[in-house]
C-alpha cells in the first residue's frame, strides 16, 4: 500500500501548484525507485544506491533551490518539501542530496569564483560530479573553530595537512570542500579526487545512516592551487552559512521520516489483532497516534512558516536552530514510539520505523547537535553564550 501523508491541518491548501507538484514528483520517485532498494543497502554497511544518481539529477534534486547552472531555481518551501520526501525514504537519501546541494553546491554558488562555478555547478547539478563537505575532525565536532587542519600558502599553492572525520560521501567524491585554518582565519578549499596526499577510507560499523557512505579524509602535504580556494570565505561565517542551508533542509526532512513512521504505525495498529480486537481500538495506541499526529502537524507548521520567512529573506539562523532541534527531536520520538507499537515486527527491516529511528540518532547529532541548537537559541534569548 502506498504511503498516505498526514495533512491534518490542510497545509496543502497553503502550497502553490509548483510546491505540491515538486513534492508529488519526488514522492513518486522515492516510492518507485528508492524504497524497493533501501533495505539491501542498509544490510551492507555504508553503501548508497549510486545507480540512482543520474535519475536524481534528471529530476533536479541537486541544488534545487539554486538558480542558474542547470539548477531548478525552486523556492525554499518547495525545496523543503523535496527534502521531506527524500527523508521519508531514508535519512541517507536526504543526506546525499543535502551534502551535494546545500553543503557543496551552495558554498561554491555563494562564495566561489566564476571559474569554480562554471567548472563544478553544472556537473554537480547533473550528478556527474559528486561533492563532500569536510568540516568535522576527530577532536572537533561541535566546536569546528578549534580545527587543527591547516593550510599554508606557498606562492600560488596551498599545502593542506590534517584529518577530517564523519565525511558523508568522502570516498566517492570528485571534489571535497575542505575547511582549514589559515594564517588569517579559515579558508574553504576545493580538493579534487586524486590530489597527492589525499586518502579517503570509509568508516564501518555504523548502526545509523547505513544507506549512506561515511568516510575519513587524510590530507598529508596535499597541494591545492590558489584557484581552488573559495575567494568569498575568510572566517567561520563561510561554513556556518552552509550549515544553515543544510539544517533548514533537515528541519523538513525529519518530518518526512516522522510521517513514514506514523503511517506505518497507524496501518499496523489497524490490522494487528490483539486480545481479539484491533490494536488501534485500544486507548494507549490511540493516545500514541494522537500524540504523533499532533507533533507532526506542529512540525509541519514550523517548517512551512520557516520556509516562507526564508523566501522573504528574513531568516535568522536561530530560527533554523529551533526547527532543526524540534523536528528531529519529535521525529526520533515518533520513530521510537512507532517501533514500539509494531512489537517484535518493529525490529525487522521489513518495516521502516526502526531504520528511521536509528537514522535519526545521526540526524540528531550532525549539523549541530540537539544540545548545541538549544545553546544557540539560549544565546539568542538571553545574550549569554553558554558554549564555553
Amino acid at each position: 500500500m502506498a504511503f498516505e501523508s498526514l495533512d491534518f491541518y490542510r497545509i496543502d491548501d497553503e502550497l502553490s501548484d509548483e510546491e505540491r507538484m515538486a513534492r508529488d514528483s519526488v514522492r513518486e520517485f522515492v516510492d518507485k525507485e528508492f524504497l524497493p532498494r533501501v533495505v539491501e543497502h542498509v544490510r551492507q554497511d555504508g553503501s548508497f544506491p549510486l545507480e540512482l544518481v543520474p535519475k536524481m539529477a534528471e529530476l533536479g534534486l541537486f541544488g534545487a533551490n539554486l538558480t542558474g547552472y542547470g539548477c531548478a531555481g525552486m523556492n525554499n518551501v518547495a525545496y523543503g518539501l523535496i527534502m521531506q520526501e527524500l527523508e521519508r525514504g531514508d535519512s541517507g537519501l536526504r543526506s546525499f542530496a543535502s551534502v551535494q546541494g546545500a553543503l557543496c553546491m551552495y558554498p561554491i554558488w555563494s562564495f566561489g569564483s566564476d571559474a569554480q562555478k562554471q567548472r563544478w555547478l553544472p556537473a554537480m547539478a547533473k550528478g556527474e560530479a559528486i561533492g563532500c563537505f569536510g568540516l568535522t575532525e576527530p577532536d572537533f565536532g561541535s566546536n569546528p573553530a578549534g580545527m587543527r587542519t591547516r593550510a599554508e600558502r606557498r606562492g600560488d599553492t596551498w599545502i593542506l595537512n590534517g584529518t577530517k572525520r564523519w565525511i558523508t560521501n568522502g570516498s566517492i567524491a570528485d571534489v571535497a570542500l575542505v575547511w582549514a585554518r589559515t594564517e588569517d582565519g579559515f579558508g574553504g578549499f576545493l580538493v579534487e579526487k586524486g590530489a597527492p596526499g589525499l586518502e579517503a577510507p570509509d568508516m564501518k560499523g555504523k548502526f545509523s545512516l547505513r544507506a549512506s557512505i561515511t568516510s575519513e579524509l587524510y590530507l598529508q602535504d596535499t597541494p591545492v592551487p590558489e584557484a581552488n580556494r573559495l575567494p568569498g570565505v575568510e572566517d567561520m561565517r563561510g561554513p556556518l552559512a552552509c550549515l544553515t542551508q543544510a539544517r533548514y533542509g533537515i528541519a523538513w526532512g525529519a518530518i518526512g521520516a516522522a510521517m513514514a513512521c506514523f503511517d506505518e504505525a497507524r496501518r499496523y495498529a489497524m490490522d494487528r489483532i490483539v486480545f481479539d480486537r484491533p490494536l488501534a481500538s485500544l486507548q494507549i495506541p490511540q493516545q500514541k497516534l494522537a500524540w504523533m499526529a499532533t507533533e507532526i502537524t506542529k512540525a509541519q507548521l514550523l517548517a512551512l512558516r520557516l520556509g516562507r520567512i526564508k523566501d522573504e529573506g528574513k531568516l535568522h539562523h536561530a530560527m533554523v536552530s529551533m526547527a532543526k532541534m524540534n523536528n528531529v527531536d519529535i521525529g526520533l520520538q515518533i520513530a521510537r514510539t512507532a517501533r514500539d507499537m509494531l512489537g517484535a515486527n518493529g525490529i525487522l527491516d521489513d518495516y521502516a520505523s526502526m531504520r528511521h529511528m536509528l537514522n535519526l540518532e545521526t540526524v540528531r547529532t550532525y549539523e549541530g547537535t540537539h544540545d548545541i541548537h538549544s545553546l544557540i537559541l539560549g544565546q539568542e534569548l538571553t545574550g549569554f553564550s553558554a558554549f564555553s
Binding site: 502506498a2 514528483s25 529530476l59 533536479g60 518547495a78
Partner: protein
Amino acid sequence: MKILVCVKQVPHKDARLEISSDETWIQDESIKFEINAYDTYALEEALRIKDAGEAEVVILSIGPDRAIQALRTALGMGADRAILVWDDALAGTDSLGIAKALAAVAKAEQPDLILTGLMADDTNYSLTPPMLAELTQLPHVTAVVKETQQNGDIVAERELEGGALEVVKLPRPCLLSIQTGMNDVRYASLKGIMQAKKKPLETKSLADLGLQASDVAPKVTLEKIFLPPRGKGAEIVEGSIDEIATQVVTKIKELGLL
C-alpha cells in the same frame, strides 16, 4: 507535427473512496486526484515523439478547476500547452457528450495525431476514444502497445487476448488509444515544473467551442452506484499451510474446476 493528448483527471489510486449521499458518485471534495494512468502512457508516447524530432504536444482535458493541476503536471513533464474545457452542463454528461466537446477542440486544433488512454480508471467505459475518432472522422485503433512513424503513416502494435499481438498500419491524421505499460513514464522534473507555469493554459466554455448545453445533454444517465452486498457462502479454510492447500485443491476438484 501536432499531437493532441486527451487526459482525464481521476481520483488518486490511493484515495479512500466513499459513496456520496445521493448515491450517484463518490465524495470527492477532499480526496486527491491524479492523471488517469492510461493517459500518462499516451502523454509519455507523445513526449517521446517530440524528443525524437519536431512536435508540438497539446494537452486537452475536460474537467472542473481542479483539473488544472493535472494539466500543470503534464506541462511539467514537457507538454507545450494545455486546454481545459469546462461548463456546468458537462457535469452530468455521458461519453458522447465528452467526445463531442473533445471533437470540437480537435476540429479547431487540426492535430496530426490524437493520443488518448484506452479507458479511464474511474468510469471504465473505453467509449470516448472511438466516439471522438468517429466525430472527427479519423481512422483509429485501440489498445496500442507500440507505435512507430513510417513516412506519414503509423504502424501500431495492438494487444489481443491471450497475449497475442497484431500489427496494423493507418495513415495520419489518426487516433490511437494507448494501453498501460507501453513505455516508462517520466517524472515531472523540478525544472520542468518551474517552466510549466510559463506555458500557455487556456480555459474554454462550451460556448467558446460553438456548443450548447443541449448538445451535451446525456442520453445515458447515471442512476446509482453501490458496493455489491457481501456474498454468501464464503468458506473459511483453517489449518496448517499444507492442510489448507490440500483442502483448497480438493474443493476445486469437487467443483470440477481442475
